[in-house]
Every structure is written in structure tokens, then in C-alpha cells.
């Protein structure tokens, strides 16, 4: 099956700093999503981005499908950005439309 690797595994930032989170995947995908899991365990959709670039406030994401990677940018980080960031991909349709998750990146933003 498709492999998803995220880096770095852990990241510590001072409030106000910027960061880049990376997701590499081993095969062509038709869906890529970024999630933020907050300390209460809730998975929050950040982006649906199988290709191209999107921005939402302080967050933006870019997926280069031909090179099989995606980047999540966090600017002017805040303590509320802390948590685990997951990248998940799908390479099939219909009955094979499941998401495969990376191991996640644990972000800690210090005041």
C-alpha cells in the first residue's frame, strides 16, 4: 500500500515563529488532507489539497503531486496551534477510497 512519511516528528516553536511541516508519499494520490488533532483528540480538517496551493488565515498548504510531497506552512504561530498534525492520502476510489495516515508531527508552541 501507499506509504506516508511526515517530518520532522517533533517541533518546538516560540510563539510568533513560522514553521514548515512536510509530507512525502510513495505513489500518486487523488486526495490529500491535512488535519490538526487538538489536545482533546478532535481531528480538525485544515486542507483538502490533492494538488496546488491553498491558504486559510495563518495557514497555507502546497501539494506538488508530480513530486509526491505536500507542505503545511504555519505563520506567526500561537499556543493554540499546539497539537499533532497529520497528513493523510488516498490513492483509490470507491471501495478503495480509504485514507492512509502518516505518523503525525507533534508541534509545541511555547509562550
Amino acid at each position: 500500500g501507499i506509504q506516508v512519511e511526515q517530518s520532522p516528528p517533533d517541533l518546538i516553536l516560540q510563539e510568533g515563529a513560522n514553521s514548515t511541516l512536510r509530507c512525502n508519499f510513495s505513489d500518486s494520490v487523488n486526495n490529500l488532507q491535512w488535519f490538526h488533532q487538538n489536545p482533546w483528540g478532535q481531528l480538525i480538517n485544515l486542507f483538502y489539497i490533492p494538488s496546488g496551493t491553498k491558504q486559510n488565515g495563518r495557514l497555507s498548504a502546497t501539494t506538488v503531486a508530480t513530486e509526491r510531497y505536500s507542505l503545511l506552512y504555519i505563520s506567526s504561530s500561537q499556543t493554540t496551534d499546539s497539537g499533532v498534525y497529520f497528513c493523510a492520502v488516498r490513492d483509490g476510489t470507491g471501495a478503495n477510497s480509504k485514507l492512509t495516515f502518516g505518523k503525525g508531527i507533534t508541534l509545541s508552541v511555547r509562550p
Partner: protein, 111 residues
Amino acid sequence: SAVISQKPSRDICQRGTSLTIQCQVDSQVTMMFWYRQQPGQSLTLIATANQGSEATYESGFVIDKFPISRPNLTFSTLTVSNLSPEDSSIYLCSGGPDTQYFGPGTRLTVL
């Protein structure tokens, strides 16, 4: 978008008993998915639930342990049977046409 609710949000169960988790979507979706997240780990797909047919289980997960119902296009249940402490995890359901949305999760502790 889709809004997904789960019940219960958390439970503490005794070894050997079973827990049934309910998942409700606010719109009709063809496929729903059940994931397990063990402590400190990423999400692992348990099974894909299609309306009107048997669920499709991933390697390492069997129907006797994780029976699933999908009576209609907005509802599904997952039962975790014959509980052991190793089943202590967060269980999440998801659904959606393209973007996958997740419920808030059910935090299960087995004593």
C-alpha cells in the same frame, strides 16, 4: 461539508464486555470508515462500512471482534467485543464525499 457525531464520547469498561459506538452523519454518504488510534499513535483503519453490504475489514481486524452495522446512509455502529486492556484507544468514524470529516472520537478505557 459534513458534521459527524459519535456516542458515547468516552467509556470505561470491564474486561470481557462489549461496547457499541454510534456514528451519525448530518448528510448522506456512501462510505463510512472506522479508525482506531492507540495512545500516542496515528490512526489505523479498522473497516469500511457500506450501506446494504458487509463491511470490508483491514488486515488484522476481524468481524467477530469488530462487528459493524450500516443500516442507512447516515448512520453506522461499531462494536468492540470481548474487551481487553489492549483495546483501550480512541475510536473515530469518518465520512464524506471527497473531503473526509471525522467525528469527535470515543475514548475507551478497558480495566
